[in-house]
């Protein structure tokens, strides 16, 4: 399929903005495959529906871009860089480093957005993955089926950070899936009543991610 078969300025009806050139909000065009656009639409719908009512309406989403005509999933029209999610009364701003905000609620909101993205995109590269992603989240649907993969650093650092924020696990964020990380992941799955087959069942893993996100976006521990 052509990587640029679809060109659009909204995802799920939510306007896309660019905030890296100037503080003024600028509309942007995003190109991708139709299939990837569908996943972005679903992600946008999740952002609008997983939050508590006080967040208000989802107003806009800032991106650093999607299509790049060179190697990688950006070049296949199957990647997206997220800078800001703006609801009427709340925001998640990876571009401002909300992953290390002094407010626990903002750090948990970041984890909630991160979890919702993982329901649709196999690779979600966030602030704990490497220094390059301290100011944005990268999504792409490379890697195939949506299951938790203990061999991916990107999956492991997310679970380690989520366990620290949501159950106070006190894990070292090193991207290595060892027994401590495994035990913390088990505790989280038990607390949201999800079976343990997250490495083999996309359905189960997505259910876990939804329940984790709902708690995180409400600033409630598991």
């Amino acid at each position: 399929m052509p990587p640029t078969e679809s060109v659009y300025r909204t995802i799920g009806g939510i306007p896309l903005r660019y905030v890296r050139v100037s503080p003024t909000l600028t509309s942007v065009y995003v190109r991708s495959t139709y299939e990837f656009e569908d996943k972005l639409d679903s992600f946008s719908y999740n952002l609008a529906t997983a939050v508590p009512p006080w967040y208000g309406r989802l107003r806009w989403i800032a991106t650093a871009g999607a299509y790049v005509n060179k190697p990688g999933y950006h070049g296949l029209g199957r990647a997206f860089d997220l800078d800001v999610v703006r609801w009427r009364n709340a925001a998640c701003r990876p571009i401002r480093g909300h992953h290390r905000s002094q407010h626990l609620s903002q750090r948990r909101r970041y984890i909630g957005v991160d979890a919702l993205a993982r329901r649709w995109f196999k690779y979600v590269l966030d602030a704990w993955y490497n220094p390059a992603h301290r100011d944005h989240m990268h999504f792409d649907d490379g890697g195939g089926a949506l299951v938790f993969n203990t061999g991916y650093r990107s999956d492991t650092v997310f679970i380690q950070r989520a366990a620290n924020l949501m159950i106070g696990a006190g894990l070292v964020i090193d991207g290595l899936y060892g027994p401590l990380t495994d035990a913390a992941f088990h505790r989280m799955k038990n607390r949201v009543d999800v079976p343990h087959r997250v490495t083999t069942s996309p359905r189960v893993y997505r259910r876990f991610l939804w329940r984790l996100a709902v708690h995180a976006l409400r600033n409630r521990p598991l």
Binding site: P2, P3, T4, E5, V7, Y18, R20, V21, T26, S27, V28, Y29, R31, A64, G65, Y67, V68, N69, K70, P71, G72, Y73, H74, D81, K122, Y123, L125, Y129, N130, A132, H133, D135, H136, H138, D140, G142, G143, G144, A145, V147, N149, G151, Y152, R153, S154, G175, R197, T200, S201, P202, R203, V204
Partner: protein, 404 residues
């Protein structure tokens, strides 16, 4: 495809065994890749038009003034300019290469003009013309576990040198329910290794490949290559732990096409979600483009070995991706795409990259919202771009004019 070991020629095709194809990427230095000649005479360039208009003098350099290594007279034929009647831009060269595929780079050597790209199935693909009228399509066979990506091509000592990566990945099948594997299963995979690779060919059928996994870690790739007549410079990037996104620029240089050295880019080589994207040789040194999360940047090197960012180029191309660069005497030309509209953009600099002006290129297909540009280069004074127009692979060339 037969399983015999020897390549079989017949009826205009070279038939290869899977084992032979695999050999090319499995043993590193000295490996051989063989392209499968898939189709002939798919598309013809339009015939020469008597009295075709020449590019304005300030636009096209004389062929004898072309930079070293850029080849002699252009092979693509002068074509009618179908848009001239309706007042649109007119391309000097134009060819629709086939019905589908993505061209990524173009080069000319003694063997002809070669456009490298990707087929609709994602396999490496080359379009070669020896006489400017007939294009022969070559596809590279790959396997599920080991694939090749070819992104750049350049002339070198009468041959072509192409660059890209060879990729190994581990697959496993996953059922949606996680319980009963069956026909509804999907593949999940981990990319184990992405090794930057250089191939060389004289006929576009048999290629010798050289991988560099020991030089740059588990995940890296080359994206573009250029030659100044004596030195080759290949550029690309290294990738992160999962092999998902670029983290640093990568430059390899060679004076013999066999021995390659990695240039030290220092702290400036960090490219968040980026890499180098193009490189070109000029009379006063080398120029390259990179992209990262914030946009494009132009680099300069006096010798292909020591690189620095051209002042203010990062500001000039913030919010843009840059896909190709060419040098035409004292002009530097780049092709890019912005986030704020859907059209390819062309830029020209007469100040060694310090200041840039918007430019228009004499093309009709690779302009406008239906076009995507994969590469820009200068061949004998003509600016040549490759890309797609409404999904069809296209080569076009002509003069490039600075906008007022």
């Amino acid at each position: 495809m037969p399983d015999g070991d020897a390549p079989q020629r017949g009826g205009g095709q070279v038939l290869l065994s899977r084992r032979q194809i695999l050999t090319g990427t499995s043993v590193g230095i000295g490996a051989t890749l063989l392209f499968h000649q898939a189709a002939r005479n798919r598309v013809e360039l339009p015939p020469p038009r008597p009295g075709a208009p020449s590019p304005p003098p300030e636009v096209a350099a004389a062929p004898d003034a072309a930079p070293p290594g850029s080849g002699g007279a252009a092979t693509a034929q002068a074509s009618p300019a179908p848009d001239a009647d309706r007042g649109g831009p007119s391309a000097v060269h134009r060819a629709q290469l086939s019905d589908s595929g993505q061209p990524r780079a173009v080069a000319r050597s003694d063997a002809g003009v070669l456009v490298m790209g990707m087929s609709a199935d994602g396999d490496p693909l080359g379009w070669l013309t020896e006489d400017g009228t007939q294009w022969v399509e070559h596809t590279l066979g790959t396997t599920e576990r080991q694939t090749a990506e070819v992104w750049g091509v350049a002339p070198y000592a009468g041959d072509f040198v192409a660059v890209g990566a060879t990729i190994e990945r581990a697959d496993r099948r996953i059922a949606e329910s996680g319980i009963v594997p069956g026909p509804d299963t999907r593949v999940t995979f981990v990319e184990r290794r992405r090794a930057p690779t250089v191939w060389r060919t004289s006929d576009c059928i048999e290629w010798s490949g050289q991988s560099f996994e020991h030089v740059v870690g588990p995940h890296a790739q080359l994206i573009a290559v250029a030659c100044d007549g004596s030195r080759l410079v290949a550029v690309g990037g290294t990738l992160d732990d999962d092999g998902a996104q670029g983290v640093r620029g990568l430059v390899l240089t060679s004076t013999d096409g066999v021995t390659w050295r990695r240039a030290d880019l220092g702290a400036a080589g960090v490219l968040t979600e980026g890499s180098f994207t193009a490189v070109a040789a000029g009379v006063d040194g080398w120029y390259a483009t990179s992209v990262d999360i914030d946009g494009g940047t132009v680099w300069r090197s006096p010798d292909g070995w020591r690189w620095s960012v051209v002042d203010r180029s990062t500001d000039a191309f913030r919010g843009f991706t840059l896909q190709g660069i060419g040098v035409d005497r004292d002009r530097i030309l780049v092709a890019g795409t912005g986030l704020f509209d859907t059209e390819p953009r062309y830029f020209v600099s007469r100040t060694a990259g310090r200041t840039w002006r918007r430019a228009t290129l004499d093309v009709s297909l690779l302009a406008g919202p239906d076009a995507l540009v994969g590469d820009l280069t200068v061949i004998s004074g003509d600016v040549v771009v490759v890309g797609t127009h409404r999904g069809a692979p296209v080569l076009e060339g002509g003069g490039l004019h600075a906008a007022d």
